[in-house]
């Protein structure tokens, strides 16, 4: 992949006619969407409609599951991340991911970040990098006096912010979040949402959430997914628009039914 970005581009990522398969089963059909730079884009929809599958296609994470394949394209600054000469590890380095369940390494808070940076070849001042990442993840004040305690000693919400600090320590451009708050209590959830508003100044965020209200509160754009292809159990994006519109006046009847709690 090219190392310099077209920094004038408004859109960081785009999919073109994207189909995603598990073996011969087509889980996601014909998705065309754009991810705008420095915005939060949410993917919502009922269970099993392919939200996480679509998200994982954004950084080739699907390939870690046997038998997955795609048709169509996923573009990152105009470059197809599935092109033959592209290294998937580098893709995941530039397009980071945070998962549903906080998964800190069984190491100290400090090492969770330092170790990650080191294996990515960081040779600068480590203390500064660790502090910077923890500050950006709004965790520094809570952990600055116990940096050498295990990351697993933190609360769930703190662990998730540690994982976000770890993800941003290697300066990705996009952060994919798969249900980042579903295992957290409401206050920890609001903290993650508030953090997303801070992070989007420097990064572009795509989030999958079951929690419609979370998409409403925290995102700028919303993609509504649903199983909708006739004769197939395959998910697709049925409506994609600014979040305010999706939650006040959606165009598609099915979106209206879903956001008003009448379907799904």
């Amino acid at each position: 992949m090219t190392t310099t970005n077209n920094s004038d581009s408004q859109y960081v990522m785009e999919t073109h006619n994207l189909d995603i398969y598990y073996g011969s089963f087509k889980a996601v059909t014909n998705v065309n969407m754009k991810v705008e730079r420095n915005k939060v884009t949410a993917i919502i929809g009922p269970s099993g409609c392919g939200k996480s599958t679509l998200l994982r296609a954004f950084n080739r994470m699907n390939e870690l599951y046997a038998g997955t394949s795609i048709k169509g394209q996923v573009m990152f600054y105009g470059e197809d991340i599935y092109a033959r000469d592209v290294d998937p590890v580098e893709v995941r380095y530039r397009i980071g991911m945070v998962f549903q369940k906080p998964n800190p390494f069984p190491k100290s808070i400090y090492e969770n970040i330092a170790w990650t940076a080191r294996i990515h070849g960081y040779k600068g001042k480590m203390d500064e990098l660790v502090e910077g990442a923890l500050r950006q993840a709004a965790l520094w004040d809570e952990v600055k006096d116990k940096l050498h305690q295990s990351g697993l000693s933190l609360s769930g919400g703190q662990q998730q912010r540690l994982c976000i600090a770890r993800a941003i320590s290697i300066k990705p451009e996009v952060i994919l979040m798969d249900e980042p708050a579903s295992a957290l209590d409401p206050i920890a959830t609001l903290k993650i949402e508030e953090l997303m508003q801070e992070l989007k100044k420097d990064y572009t965020i795509v989030i999958v959430t079951h929690n419609m209200q979370q998409a409403a509160r925290a995102s700028d754009y919303t993609a509504m997914m649903m199983l909708s292809v006739e004769g197939e159990r395959s998910g697709t994006v049925i409506e994609f628009d600014v979040t305010n519109r999706i939650f006040t006046n959606p165009r598609d009847r099915r979106t209206e039914d879903y956001v008003t709690g009448r379907f799904g």
Binding site: L190, A216, N244
Partner: protein
Amino acid sequence: MVRKTFESEIQQVKDDVLILGSMVEKALLDSVEALKKRDIKAAEKLFVEDREINKKRFEIENHLMVLIATQQPMAHDLRLLASSMEIISELERMGDYAKGISNINIRMGDTPLLKPLIDVPRMAQKGVDMLHRSLTAFVNEDVETAKALPVEDDEVDALYNQIYRELMTFVIADPKTIERANWLLWVAHNLERFADRVTNICERTVFIVTGKMTEIKSTDDEFWEQRTHG
């Protein structure tokens, strides 16, 4: 603060309500000034400018809808957003009184004023002053001021009655002045209604802070109660 983004949106709503309020204040004072000078051009301009007030109201209303839909406001936040919806609707109608006065000015055409305006500008000034303080109380969520302000409506009512009596003396002395007196009476009526609506704004502020929907009584209400209950 956990919901910094939402807090700043709420601040934005309050700022916008203040902006709408100052547009209405200016419109009312300008409409009376234009009448005083019999400046029909200025009145026509105000008539058109009322659309800006309506536009601003819709803009705030839309913002409130989006916040209610996307931010799931609860308790105090919900009361604040719902009350803001009510307040901007009051403000828009108060703007219509300025438009009403401009309308009278335009309809009067070449007809001179029946008498120089003295109490009418006083009423306008008092109404605007009350509106200004009611919105400051709203923004600061100041219940004491919100509860105390409506009493001052009595001063506006007293001016209205004074204008009414004075105009009647003209009409009695010379019935040909009926039309010109009537115009001024309508102007005063617009101003009287303007000040009445300040009370509604104050009631909303009390509701935001206390959660209680109460009518703040004016002397008018007491008069009515005495009549109906002896």
